[in-house]
Amino acid sequence: MIKKTRNTEGVSRRDFLGLAAFGAAILGSIGVLAGSLRFVKADVYSEESKKFKIGKKENFPIGTTRKFDDKNVFIFSDDNGLFAISAICTHLGCIVSPSEFGFQCPCHGSRYDENGNVIGGPAPRPLEWYEINQEVDGTLFIDAGKAVPQGTKYLFA
């Protein structure tokens, strides 16, 4: 009987068992390894969101300058659209205020032009610009976690 099986199928029953067992074990291990890669990147992080809503675009007619105090971000609106500039000085993190030439830091005298470029003082880098985006319902929000190149302005339909 055994002999017959061996002859017709070419693989002994024990060989088949061994193949299947090791095959399944390897498959399982690969699966577990591949699956655990899934956990390298978390779905959500325990950090406060840097996004915040600023309302409808109608609130920002051309010529608007507004500062969101608790978020330390300026919002401007001109012919080319809306843009958001950080109010945090790149030197040691004081809060800059608008001035006739752009922005002025009260702490060590850094000065920035209206695009946030350094024009004086110890600041090493220009002020950051942030992404402005729109919710489905049209509400605008700023993502202070996402810096965008200087000069990025947003026009919303």
Binding site: A24, A25, V32, E47, V136
Partner: protein
């Protein structure tokens, strides 16, 4: 033979592993929220009223949502299913997609407050059953039913503001709490009687604190509190709690109980508009601390739970015959052997000023005319004769031993308030009786005993405490 056994073992365990992997993979790929978010996105794409809205809807990324709020120690993932909660386009949609009702979110942006700080539930859960904490999930604070949710508002707001601006249920609950005399038996913030449990922090007490055996429906804090208000003894069989509440009042009070939580909100969350405390007068104090047992105090009543008669402390017959000093002693020290609590500041927490206000309220209708003095000291009292008279006249109501109690109409004459009372006061009570109570007049107006007999009886009564 042996290797075959091991190979089979390896094969079977590997297959089991693969099967579990399949399950895990399937779960990972199809979480409950994914279905809802897909529905949400499809709905918005389909119903977009212009091209740009459609574009934005198409850009919606499906993924787990979380609002992490460090100062509240919360990671609310509710929006993983309720993604439309801030979206006015979802005002009419069905749950879980519907926009939040009312204008609450205008002043309570989700990014700052999250959800569970008001609604409770399990912040980190990612499926409905666990997030709402319903049924047998054993989460201590399941999602709070909307009828009680205003209890959450009081974490940050004062009752005056709540009364005017959308928190009327919890504000009414707070009022009821003062009017129903809850603090007659329950301490809160160090003030109140001690017949019942201290209710500080009841709104944030873990599930395990309560006996849920008799609770109908979901076994949770809210049902326990509400059903306990409906019928205390149905939930806690040995309870002595007296309640006279309509269903609505029980709901309002349950809402108010949810305000007693231990965690304090951070400063930048609270908004107290009215710092002035309402003036509390004698009447309010009487309602807060006395009314639960004494009702309006006009008639004495036999209490089925306490198995004793509760005296009519605002009845003119009572107030006429008792002076303020005596009343003050009773209120401050309580009456041993009865449910009457000692209200002094070191016990139930009432200040002398509070007690004075209560006394003024109780004696408000005290008749101008003092009872005719008895002149107890004029009589030479015969205790033995007093005992004989007692056995004929008094025993029926006060019991052979003067203990009153179960089955007797009269009060316990052995308690210190009687034993330490001025015999003059006792003699007047016996002579004139006490209106509104079963105590009739034994003097010339009533049962026609002469003063000597009354003096003898009083003298005997005063000896009761020395008897076994």
């Amino acid at each position: 033979m042996q290797s075959r056994f091991y190979l089979s073992l390896l094969l079977i365990s590997s297959l089991v592993l693969i099967a579990f992997m399949g399950i895990a993979f399937n779960r990972e790929m199809n979480p409950e929220w994914k279905k809802y978010q897909t529905e949400y996105k499809d709905f918005l794409v389909k119903n977009a009223k212009d091209a740009s809205t459609r574009q934005r809807a198409e850009r919606i990324q499906i993924g787990m949502q979380q609002i992490y709020i460090k100062s509240l120690e919360r990671s609310d993932r509710c929006m993983s299913c309720h993604r439309g909660v801030e979206n006015p386009l979802m005002a009419e949609a069905e749950q879980p997609h519907r926009q939040h009702s009312g204008n609450y979110l205008e002043n309570h942006p989700i990014a700052k407050f999250g959800c569970t700080v008001c609604h409770r539930g399990q912040d980190r859960a990612t499926n409905m059953r666990e997030a709402h904490g319903e049924e047998h999930t054993h989460w201590d604070f399941p999602i709070i039913p909307s009828k009680y949710i205003q209890g959450s508002c009081a974490q940050c707001h004062d009752y005056e503001m709540l009364r005017q601006e959308g928190g009327e249920k919890v504000a009414r609950g707070e009022e009821l709490f003062r009017q129903k005399g809850c603090q007659g038996c329950h301490k809160i913030g160090g003030k109140g009687g001690d017949l019942g449990k201290d209710i500080a922090g009841i709104g944030s007490r873990p599930f395990a604190y309560f006996s849920m055996k008799h609770v109908v429906g979901d076994h949770n804090l809210y049902n326990w509190v509400k059903q306990h208000f409906d019928d205390p003894r149905a939930i806690v069989p040995e309870s002595e709690m007296r309640v006279f509440l309509t269903d609505e009042e029980a709901e309002l009070l349950t809402t108010y109980m949810m305000t007693f939580v231990t965690a304090e909100m951070p400063r930048n969350y609270t908004l107290i508009k009215n710092v002035i405390q309402p003036k509390i007068d004698g009447e309010s104090l009487y309602k807060m601390y006395c009314i639960a047992c004494h009702s309006d105090g006009r008639v004495s009543l036999y209490d089925e739970i306490f198995k004793r008669t509760i005296p009519a402390i605002r009845n003119p017959a009572f107030t006429r015959s008792i002076d303020d000093e005596h009343l003050r002693t009773i209120i401050k020290e309580g009456r041993k052997g009865t449910q009457m609590t000692a209200w002094k500041v070191s016990a139930a927490g009432l200040t002398d000023a509070d007690i004075n206000k209560i006394i003024m309220y109780i004696t408000m209708n005290r008749p101008e005319k003092k009872p005719e003095p008895f002149g107890f000291l004029k009589y030479k009292a015969d205790v033995r004769h007093g005992e004989e008279l007692y056995n004929i006249r008094c025993e029926f109501c006060h019991g052979a031993e003067g203990k009153g109690g179960e089955g007797f109409l009269g009060i316990n004459l052995r308690n210190p308030a009687v034993q330490k009372a001025d015999p003059e006061f006792l003699a007047i009570t016996v002579r004139d009786g006490r209106e509104g109570t079963p105590m009739v007049s034994f003097g010339m107006k009533g049962l026609k005993l002469d003063n000597q007999d009354i003096a003898d009886m009083v003298a005997y009564v005063k000896t009761l405490s020395q008897k076994k």
